[in-house]
């Protein structure tokens, strides 16, 4: 066999170049790290071995926007913000909520398949994918779905690749259905003392006009809008027509008032950016001295789970920032320390405690050094054996992101 002369970073400029790289790596036993915008590189374990970084960002063409059909198609290296800006020219968008969206690629976003805070309203990112093209580990191209909004022609293979963190195949192209942009956006921000919190959350969850996204936040300083005092705050984001937002505002004010929340600030200009900042905060990292966990669960238990995790971090004398998604139940807890040199020892004990408390919590942001010794994903799901078999069948040589995902898949 000829010794490999592949550089350790490859940025294919064409589909063929990408296929050839994969084909060769697979044949020569080289391990490939698949990379988009790398905005999520603080999630999951550090790859045990990567010989070649395959970077998709030069596959950056928007292939079609059939705006009368409300569909579009783009190469996987297109940035989320770039795609939404193009769709916006015809008053449309795809509701994927990603941190650092100017950098994040659509391929990386769907490979992460992270369900965002607006999913109770619009559905999950996966619900917007109507077709895809992937390159398999050996470079073979495979298509799934198409350019129509309804399709039950065989297995929906896109679903398998979405959320697989690049361990089964590399997205090269994604087709989406789009939505008309909401006419107006509004953010409402209010302080949320712990004593009123449970009541306020209950009322938000039963608002007749629900917010598109709603977070309850303690800490995070200026990363998240609103005053960062000990009371915490609630941030509500509404989308819709002027008429609907007027009603939502009245209803929300009255609901929060009844729950004992004193005053609510309205932000109209910059509401979308405010939501972006909150989403960015979910994975905001303090270099070398913080770790952020995410825990899924039902909305009804979010507050309780968040407080339990917070209290555990506090017991280890770590600073904690807590944020939870009122509508969907996702909890984020960031534990940090002022001094990086103390962080290591404290977090080790804290991590063990958190895992005992919530075996399924996942590390979503942390520097590689700090997390190297931690199991990043948490307890394996019941169907892990099927997942292992899937990985073995799709990537028999363990070429794609080996060891990147849960249970070592």
């Amino acid at each position: 066999m000829i010794a490999s002369t592949l550089p350790d970073k490859i940025v294919p400029k064409s589909l063929d170049a990408l296929r050839e790289t994969l084909e060769r790596c697979d044949r020569e036993g080289l391990k490939v790290s698949v990379e988009g915008g790398k905005t999520l590189s603080g999630m999951g374990p550090v790859l045990p071995r990567a010989d070649v970084a395959l970077i998709t960002t030069a596959l950056s063409a928007i292939l079609a926007h059939e705006y009368h059909d409300l569909t579009c198609s783009a190469q996987s290296g297109v940035r989320v913000a770039q795609l939404n800006a193009a769709l916006g020219e015809h008053g449309q968008f795809i509701p994927i909520d990603v941190p650092l969206r100017k950098k994040a690629t659509i391929g990386g976003s769907l490979a992460a398949g992270w369900p965002g805070p607006r999913r109770h309203m619009y559905g999950r990112a996966r619900d917007f994918v109507i077709g895809s093209q992937v390159a398999l580990a050996d470079g073979t191209l495979a298509n799934a779905g198409g350019m129509v909004v309804k399709n039950v022609s065989g297995y929906d293979m896109s679903k398998l690749y979405i959320g697989s963190f690049g361990t089964l195949a590399v997205f090269t192209q994604l087709n989406f259905k789009t939505l008309p942009l909401p006419k107006k956006r509004r953010a409402m921000i209010a302080p949320l003392p712990e004593a009123t919190r449970a009541r306020a959350i209950e009322r938000i969850a039963s608002l007749v006009v629900p917010p598109a996204a709603a977070f309850c936040v303690e800490g995070f300083g200026k990363n998240v809008d609103g005053a960062d005092d000990i009371d915490g705050r609630v941030l509500l984001y509404f989308e819709g027509t002027e008429e609907l937002l007027e009603r939502a505002t009245l209803d929300t004010r009255s609901a929060l008032g009844k729950a004992g929340v004193p005053e609510t600030t309205i932000v109209d200009t910059g509401a979308a950016e405010s939501l972006d900042r909150t989403i960015d905060a979910c994975i905001a990292n303090k270099r070398g001295r913080s770790i952020t966990y995410r825990l899924f669960g039902s909305p009804g238990t979010a507050q309780e789970r968040a407080e339990r995790m917070r209290d555990a971090c506090n017991r280890h004398e770590l600073f904690t920032d807590v944020l939870f998604d009122v509508m969907n139940g996702d909890v984020f807890v960031r534990a940090s320390e002022r001094d990086a040199s103390h962080f290591g020892a404290k977090i080790e004990a804290c991590h063990a405690d958190l895992r005992e408390l919530e075996p399924r919590c996942t590390i979503v942001a942390c520097d590689s050094v700090a997390r190297a010794s931690f199991e990043a994903w948490g307890a394996v799901p019941p169907a892990i054996e099927k997942m292992r078999a899937m990985k073995a069948r799709f990537d028999p040589h363990g070429t794609l992101n080996p060891g990147r995902f849960i249970g070592g898949i």
Binding site: S153, P382, R393
Partner: protein
Amino acid sequence: MLKQRLIDALGADAVKTEPEDLAVYAFDAYSQGVVPAAVVLPANTREVAAAVKIAKDCGEPIVARGAGTGLCGGAAPARGGVVFSFARMNRVLEVDVRNRRARVQPGLINLDLSKHVAASGLFYAPDPSSQKVSTIGGNIGTNAGGPHCLSYGTTVNHILELEIVDENGDVTTTSVDDIGYDLTGLLVGSEGTLAIVCSAWVRLLRQPETVRVWLAAFDDINAASAAVTGIIGAGIIPTALEMLDRVMLPPIEAAFHAGYPTDAAAVLLIESAGFEDEMNLHENEIRRVMKENGATTWRAAKSQAERDALWAGRKGALGATGRLAPNYYIQDVVVPRTKLPQALKAVEDACAPQGIIAGNVFHAGDGNLHPLLLYDRGDPKQVAAVIEAGNEILKAAVDLGGTISGEHGIGSEKRDTLRRIFSTDDLATMSRVREVFDPRRSLNPEKIFPAGVGCAEVA
């Protein structure tokens, strides 16, 4: 031996083996398959698992069956075997009102779920026209759609967690919130070829505050198609947007007295569900688009009774075809919504020269056509013509950038047609999933995959 072991495990009244009892299980609403060796009616997941193990030991294929209303041969056994009927697993197990979800058994009838949770102000959104009889298990099997899926999404968007029994008889669960591969999303729509669904957590939605239903009639079906494109293109996504054509209006009106004009070329049935505050705005915009596209009649349903009547006609449409011909063959194709005029013309072109009358009642907002080809099964010439016309329609849909099934599935009917939209590599990739779940191909064999796909690799 098969029979005795099944009886020992499930009890005599849960096992059918008499030929006269078995015959009906050879059919679904599309086709006749092979009469199974036995039918089991398990009462719980444990019994499903036990029966799967026995079938496996005896080398019998396994076919899961809901109500048998499928329209692609999905539940009709291709090789006999053991049919699993979920008629006794038909309950709502749990309702979690705070988190808007319910755990249900696969044999639960779709409409019964919405009835069950109505008092809590909730409903289950996927609403196939067969919802009075078809089951949640069958709906999961086919990823069923329905008129209201235009805005609410199809079945897959409403399934949160599945409890499954695999081909070995092992029980496991998958959840959309699991970290790991999205097996839930993959299992929905897999037509009983990957695993048997034994229970599901499904998403419930809050009943809308206001619902309005409108009817617009047109002299020309192309104008109706243009109006559909006009609405979607204007950035309005109604909750439902259905079309009924000249052929279908008179028999439906005669059967249901729904209030449809019987002399129009096409009618659009439009529903918008949401908030009172926005309704007038929606209504005005939709009416404007309809008028601009030449609607001759515009009517708003004034009461719940009028809304129900308009929907009863649409949902009962297939039954009303009995007034036109002894039999119908329903096609199911999807095209990009802007291609509706060309697609409807292709249907006409495929049918008229053969002397077949085709009616259309379909999910226009999704571009999902359901041409109904009317014929007499007793006449072999008509049967041949219908098959030929059906193929022409599939071909036309693919040529227009569309697909060969929007909601009914592939089953046995469209196995070979799958090659029209997928390459050998695409199909081989799909087949890897089958190999992981069901390497021996004992779960609903000879469905979805064209003959030959994957076999070479396995052998």
